[in-house]
């Protein structure tokens, strides 16, 4: 297998030994059920009292990495996160699931996905990874960007929003849902894959894993991000929907409902 252009040669050749090296990029996000309160700067959220969790889509990536290493029988899994010191707690959650070691890219972060991707790519470039996994999107900023951007910066194949992933013989086959069907994609390793719901069922950390996670290596690397070309100028709560009404009860209300949809809402 020939590594793609621009990728250091010799990183993925490990002879016949069935070993995999997989990186997972993880983001710390507010719990999806938390109430969003706008901060005084009117451009960010008030983090006081918010519960933070690993980005739910990243959990599919963590599970995929752990399962692929288990299948290969040997190798290494690494979880990488960028942010303030609080992300170390999130990284430990990845370690508790079964990831081998963690890298904390210490930074205040950036609203510009490309600047984040550049720092991630720099960390991952020399790592000799067969696979670099992401969640398909972060549920806080709703971007779907980090994975494909890192792939582009490293010159690697990229499959986004995978709901099925099989790795064998230095190549991958994946499926993803698109409008009007399911795409089947193939690429050679190393590659970047972003994970969607449906790929697997992430395991819950067992007590043994949580204890072990405390002793697993966690490297802290301060990083500097470039100037953002994406600047947030405001954040506000969406307008409340105007209160609706109960048209009636039971099937007898249907005639009135249809009349309202036709004459008032004008949607039929």
């Amino acid at each position: 297998m020939r590594p793609p252009e621009g990728f250091p040669a010799g990183l993925i050749q490990r002879g016949a030994e069935p070993k995999v090296k997989i990186a997972v990029c993880l983001k710390r996000v507010p719990d999806t059920t938390s109430k969003i309160v706008i901060a005084a700067d009117r451009a960010s959220i008030d983090e006081a009292g918010l519960k933070f969790v690993p980005n739910p889509y990243d959990e599919f990536a963590l599970e995929a990495a752990i399962a692929l290493k288990e299948k290969a029988g040997a190798g290494e899994t690494v979880v990488v996160a960028l942010g303030g010191d609080s992300v170390q707690e999130t990284l430990r959650q990845g370690l508790a699931m079964g990831i081998d070691r963690a890298v904390h890219l210490q930074s205040a972060g950036s609203p510009d996905a490309l600047e984040v991707a550049k720092v991630l790519a720099a960390e991952l470039k020399e790592g000799g990874y067969d696979l670099i996994l992401f969640g398909k999107m972060a549920v806080d900023d709703y971007n779907h960007a980090a994975g494909p951007m890192v792939a582009e910066l490293l010159g690697l194949p990229c499959v986004t929003a995978a709901v099925k992933l099989e790795v064998a013989g230095g190549a991958l086959e994946a499926e993803r849902e698109v409008e009007g069907g399911v795409e089947v994609l193939a690429a050679s390793l190393p590659a970047v894959v972003t994970c969607d719901k449906g790929l697997n069922n992430p395991r819950l950390p067992a007590l043994k894993g949580i204890m072990a996670a405390k002793k697993k290596p966690l490297d802290v690397k301060p990083v500097t991000l470039g100037a953002a070309q994406f600047s947030v100028t405001g954040l506000e709560l969406p307008a409340e929907r105007k209160a609706g009404r109960i048209v009636g009860e039971g099937p007898d209300a249907v005639a009135e409902l249809v009349s309202l949809l036709r004459n008032e809402a004008k949607v039929i």
Binding site: P4, P30, T32, I36, I38, I45, A113, L114, M137, V139, D140, Y142, N143, H144, A145, A146, P148, M149, E152, G155, P157, C158, T160, V163, E177, V178, E179, G180, G181, V182, E183, V184, L185, A186, A187, S188, A191, D196, G198, Q229, F230, S231, L235, E236, L237, P238, G244, R245, I246, V247, G248, E249, G250, V254, L257, V258, L261, A265, V267, I268
Partner: protein, 320 residues
């Protein structure tokens, strides 16, 4: 600024979102005195190219390549990452979300995903987009020579003008095929995706059994242009495919009409459908949270209400 609108087609038919992307591109171009160039990634003849001028394209660039039979993210990125544009616009679909960050990374540009409003201020693109699963709206300014933007389907209404677009055939620049699309499984061109449909009929746990989704499908069929959606609970239970899930870990939809059947309205579900123009809820529990966002609610047994509604809609459509 000149704006490149990357359109979507499958099997030679332009997707509905293509006209929406053109409408959004037109807005940026008109606000800054520029032109709109439509980019069509074609494998052969594409129907409706002569109509693109009417929908806002000053120039229709047709890039024909065999790689576009099933699609190729690498070929599409090479074709779309062209210098000289102030903005590159795509639809926030599976394809657009896949391509936008690649194009941005290649151009060294910022990307904004799922944009619902856009304008030009002081020569820069300013956007609004939902974040935190629709629980907040973010305003942002994109600086730098070019901005890459995906626009949410069903948000920018197609605008028709009297103009004609000039067709220009372009070649796809050399690219490295890193990912191959081998096949499109379960292709169903007639089946509307929940994120694109103007009417979405969704079912939840109130349907009690997976086979009762036939009620939802029948109502969707009566509308003719409706897609079937599902709550997280029934997707997690394995009744429906994840592709139909509306909400936080599913799809966000903004149809003209959203009908929630037997869905209580968990916060995760509301996040995915609160931007629908009109919401109808049918639920047994009059205190269900879904009624707080619904424009029109009917309380009662869905097994009695839904067949009646289907019948009424069918009658109306037959007389239309």
């Amino acid at each position: 600024m000149n704006v490149l609108a990357v359109l979507e087609q499958r099997d030679g038919a332009l997707r509905k979102v293509s006209h929406e992307v053109l409408a959004a591109a037109r807005r940026l171009a008109d606000a800054s005195g520029g032109s709109v160039h439509a980019l069509v990634l074609a494998a052969g003849d594409v129907a409706g190219l002569d109509q693109l001028g009417r929908f806002g394209a000053d120039v229709v660039k047709v890039a024909t390549h065999d790689a576009f039979v099933l699609g190729s993210p690498d070929a599409a990125t090479a074709a779309a990452a062209q210098p000289g544009y102030g903005a590159v616009l795509l639809a926030a679909t599976a394809q657009g979300r896949d391509l936008a960050p690649r194009i941005a990374a290649r151009l060294g540009a910022p990307v904004a995903t799922d944009v619902t409003e856009l304008a030009v201020e002081g020569g820069k693109v300013v956007i609004t987009r939902p974040v935190y699963a629709g629980r907040a709206l973010q305003r942002a300014t994109l600086s730098g020579p070019v901005a890459v933007i995906s626009v949410r389907p069903n948000t920018f209404a197609p605008v028709e003008s009297g103009k004609a677009g000039a067709r220009e055939d372009v070649t796809v620049p050399a690219f490295t095929p890193r990912v191959t699309v081998k096949a499109l499984k379960k292709p169903d061109a007639a089946k509307l995706d929940v994120s694109e449909a103007s009417v979405v009929v969704s079912g939840g746990r109130g349907l009690k059994e997976p086979q009762h989704f036939a009620l939802v499908e029948d109502l969707a069929a009566a509308f003719g242009n409706a897609a079937v959606g599902a709550s997280r609970a029934v997707v997690d239970a394995g009744w429906r495919d994840h592709g139909e899930q509306v909400g936080q870990t599913g799809k966000t939809v903004s149809p003209q009409l959203y009908i929630a059947i037997g869905i209580s309205g968990a916060i995760q579900h509301l996040a995915g459908m609160r931007t629908a123009k009109t919401i109808v809820a049918i639920n047994r529990d009059k205190d269900a949270p879904i009624f707080k966002v619904a424009d029109y609610g009917v309380v009662g047994d869905l097994f009695e209400i839904v067949p009646r509604l289907t019948e009424e809609v069918r009658k109306l459509k037959a007389n239309a």
